[in-house]
Symmetry: C2
Subunit: 122 residues, 2 copies
């Protein structure tokens, strides 16, 4: 395995995927499942967090805007400022609903929910 | 496996990684090895293309700016406008030289070589 999965400024998608996600109370929320990239601009559109399910069945996916994630060295994971209750109310999809990610109305709801600037600009 | 690895506008890093890269003459140049993301901005800094080597030893890595890659459905791979000779002269590193990717002078040379706008702006 190459050593360049992370530098001071860059991180490999492989290293992000599989990383645990916690909230500021230290509760485990899920795991980064996949990085979704905007084909045109090359910006990370979402870090999709998976949670629940068993052997890949029944999992739910939360598209998290990149800027919601802060890496915490102590927890060796990402921290998002989100209670479990807030997470329950956040935009989610399951594996049969992947088309949500190409629906601008859904995407706008995601960014509105997290108060983030959409990757496609304002 | 979830179905949302690709939508009309987004693509999963997992789907990009492992994809073959060709030049416009149809010659196989290498394979996308890893997507490197700028931690601060969430922009894809490079699609690192690997080539050569055997079982991971002796491989060389080319950091390709995202905008150099065009997906070609017929070849089921990315096409870059680069002859094999140009590829030989392009910035490269091996697995012991990963620090190049956090060296702005090296990075500038990469973007100058491909004539691309650096992900950190002008």
């Amino acid at each position: 395995m190459a050593h360049y999965h992370e530098t001071s400024t860059l991180i490999g998608a492989d290293k992000v995927e599989g990383t645990d996600v916690y909230n500021t109370a230290g509760e485990h929320l899920g795991t980064i499942h996949e990085i979704m990239i905007d084909k045109t601009s090359g910006k990370v559109a979402y870090a999709v967090m998976s949670f629940g399910g068993f052997l890949g069945m029944g999992e739910k996916y939360h598209p998290l805007p990149w800027s919601t994630l802060t890496y915490d060295v102590n927890q060796a994971g990402y921290v998002v400022n989100l209670s479990k209750q807030q997470l329950q109310d956040a935009p989610v999809f399951d594996e049969d609903e992947e088309t949500f990610l190409s629906d601008r109305a859904y995407e706008k709801r995601v960014h509105d929910y997290y108060g983030t600037t959409p990757y496609w600009g304002l």
